[in-house]
Structure formats: C-alpha cells, structure tokens
C-alpha cells in the first residue's frame, strides 16, 4: 500500500455510492497521514500541519500550566485546582506508585511533561479543524521513546556499573543452567531493541488506527449519502460519534500507558538486579 497523494478526501468530491464511483477512491489510507509542507520542500527542511500542531500543543500545555501554576496560591483557584489534580494524578498515581516517593521525586517533572505532552498530541485528533493526532506520525513517539530509552540505559550503567548493567539487560540468572546463553540473548534483544520499539509503536499504532477509524466512518457517512444509502450513512455517522467518544478514552489511556511504562523502565534501572 503506497500513499497516493492525488487521492482526495471525500468531502472535496462528489463521489457517492451508486454514482459509479468506488469507495477505494475516497477511502482513508497512508495518504491520510501525509501532509504537503506548508513551508519548505521535502528534500530539505519543511514545515507541515502535524509540526504546527505539535508546537501549538506545546504552547497550549505551557500556557495552561502557566495560567495555573504561574502564581500559585496556597488556597487554590479553580484552574489551579484542576491543574493540581492532573499533576497529583501523575505524581502520586504513576511515579510514586511505581518508583516510590524517595527515588521517584527526581523524575516527576519528566513524567508529568511526557504525560501531558502525549495527551495533548493525542487530543488533537478530536479537536475541530486540527483533527489529527500528532502521535500518529511515528517521529513524535520515537523522539519521546528515545528520551526515555537514553535515560533508562544511562541510569542502568550509572547505578550498576558495566558488568551490573550487562547482567541487568540480559536478566543474568545462574540457576538457568545450560539455557542461560539463549535466555541472555533473548533478554538482551528484548530489552535493548524491542523495548524502545514497542514503547514508541504502541502509542503510534493506537493513534494511527484510531485516526483511520474516525476518518473511515466520517468519509463513509459522506460517501453513502445517496438514495437508499442514507440509512447506512446514518449508522456510519452514529459510529463516528461513538468512535470519537471512544478515542477520547483511548487518548488518555495511551498517555497513561506511555508514562506508566516509562516509570516501570526507570524503576527497573534503579532496582537491584536479582
């Protein structure tokens, strides 16, 4: 499946059911995740819609927390209360729960930033006009997963030394006997290569699939809006609304899962290997 940018969104076309026009001409595909640059060209540096949303999202997060925590009060206002609830949820509910209060305090800012960044980028999916989850572009989850990966690996080396870190990565356990080399190889592969990959791709794929579903039902509602197809169109439209609500839930869950895994990796690096 290659992305054909000459394909157009259904809204722009008069392509309908029973009008001799196949759904494949309007169906969402990889091209739904490609954006023609707003500025620059594809050979050098360029700027496109997801980038704009990413930067805009950052500004929104900073703006929100600036408004809430810029001049915090001991007796909080409404906005500060909401922001505190979010902050406290990540700090207590995620960091303290997994890493512990003493060791985890240092990583609270990173994990809080990650949570709200991922959530905001996911939220773009259902915000009118934007309507595209930035995290459905693999580059963004990769950047975040890479930051966590680098932190995790360097923490492991710092805490356990070279041999200790190697044992940590390979899950060294003498009692395994003859299968030890095999187990170590698999563990090393799983920890150092698969782990960062799945960490990034889990978020990416969820958002990618979610956006595809939303586009599919939205496009199908328009496509079937012809003759008897109106009945199917209604079902498809209802599904769009249901999926939007479901996506709202998935967006928060994926942000939560992403930071929960982050904390679990950091905790693994800090823990004494067994």
């Amino acid at each position: 499946m290659s992305a054909d940018p000459t394909q157009t969104l259904a809204f722009d076309s008069s392509c309908h059911l029973f009008s001799g026009c196949g759904f494949e001409t309007v169906a969402p595909g990889l091209h739904s995740f490609l954006f023609e640059p707003i500025w620059g060209n594809t050979h050098g540096f360029y700027f496109n819609k997801p980038m704009l949303l990413a930067l805009l999202g950052s500004i929104i997060i900073v703006g929100f927390f600036w408004a809430a925590f810029g001049k915090p009060k001991v007796v909080p206002g409404k906005l500060q209360m909401v922001a505190e609830a979010g902050y406290d949820f990540v700090r207590r509910g995620v960091v303290y729960e997994t890493i512990g209060k003493k060791e985890g305090e240092k990583y609270v800012p990173l994990v809080v930033s990650l949570f709200f960044f991922v959530w905001m980028m996911n939220l773009w999916s259902v915000i009118p006009v934007a309507q595209f989850p930035v995290t459905a572009i693999i580059a963004y989850p990769i950047v975040l997963a890479a930051i966590v990966y680098i932190l995790w690996v360097s923490l492991t080396f710092k805490r356990h030394g070279f041999v200790g870190a190697f044992k940590n990565f390979t899950g060294y356990d003498k009692s395994l006997g003859p299968v030890l080399p095999l187990a170590m190889t698999i563990e090393l592969f799983s920890n150092l290569l698969v782990r960062p990959f799945t960490h990034a791709v889990r978020l990416f794929a969820n958002m990618f699939a979610g956006h595809t579903l939303l586009v599919l039902f939205t496009v199908a509602s328009w496509y079937m809006l012809n003759g008897i197809g109106i009945a199917y169109s209604g079902v498809s439209f209802a599904m769009t609304i249901v999926m939007t609500a479901f996506e709202l839930f998935i967006q928060a869950v994926q942000a939560y899962v992403f930071v929960l895994l982050t904390c679990s990796y950091i905790q693994g690096a800090l823990a004494e290997h067994h």
Partner: protein, 181 residues
Amino acid sequence: MTHAWVQFAAEKENPLVPPWPELVIGLIAFVIVFGFLAKKLLPNINKVLEERREAIEGGIEKAEAAQTEAQSVLEQYKAQLAEARHEAARLRQEAQEQGATLIAEMRAEGQRQREEIVAAGHAQIEADRKAAASTLRQDVGKLATDLAGKLVGESLEDHARQSRVIDRFLDELEEKAEAAR
C-alpha cells in the same frame, strides 16, 4: 500539488520511517514543555503544596495545643474542686469535734459545779450541827448545874465550872453513846 510532493509521497511507503525534520520539531516541542514545567512551573507548585501542607499541619498543631491546654485547665479545675470539697469536709469534721468537746467540757463543768454545791451544802450542815451541838452542850451544862444548885440549895455554879464536873459528865455520856452505837 507540486510534482516534488507527489514524488515524495509515492516514495514514502513505510509509515514507520520518520523524516528527520519531524524528529527535530518533535524534540523541540517536547523540550519546550519539559523546560517550562521542570524549571519553573512544577517547582512553583511544589513550593505552594509544601506551604499548604505546613499550613494544614500548623493548624492541626495549634488545635492540639489548645486541646492540651484546655485539658490541663480542666484538670486543674477538677483538682481545685476536689480540694475545696476535702477542705469543706475537714471543716465540718473539725466543727463536729469541737462541738463534741465543748459539750463534754460543759458537762464536766456542770458536774464539778454540782459537786461543789453539794460539798458546800454538806460543810454548812456540818458546821451548823457542830454549832448546835456546842450550844446545846453549854445549855445542858447550865441547866444541869442550875437544877443541881436548886436541889442542893446553893450555887454550885462557880464550883462546878471550876471542877469541870459537868464537862466530864457530858464526855462520859458521849462516850457511852459512841460505844452504844
């Protein structure tokens, strides 16, 4: 739609391969968020949360202090009350004892006075009796000598007195009376 874009999109078959400009922008976007939150906003709120915790704990400490004070005052008050009760009981007891002593003393005094009066009465009676006896003796002696003088015919008075006959006679009488008793 430019020709270059169409070509780029056609070439980009793998959605898992990230173009470098997107990586750069992604990193910048995250660093903006992390920088502001980690350097300014979260330390801000942490400070306030700590202040709030202290304020709440300070309030609790104050309340505890007030309660302790109230408790001690109550205990003091109770102790004072108990002391006052004890004192009252002691005073009552003392008064009772004093009263009893007073009554006993008065009774003893009364007894003593009664005995004095009785003794004085007895002494008076004895003195009267003695006086009467003495007078009687003289009278009896005189009567006897008078009578004897009349019988004899002459006055024996002076002689009798000198010889003390009458006294002797009366003494004998008394001795007889004593012996007969």
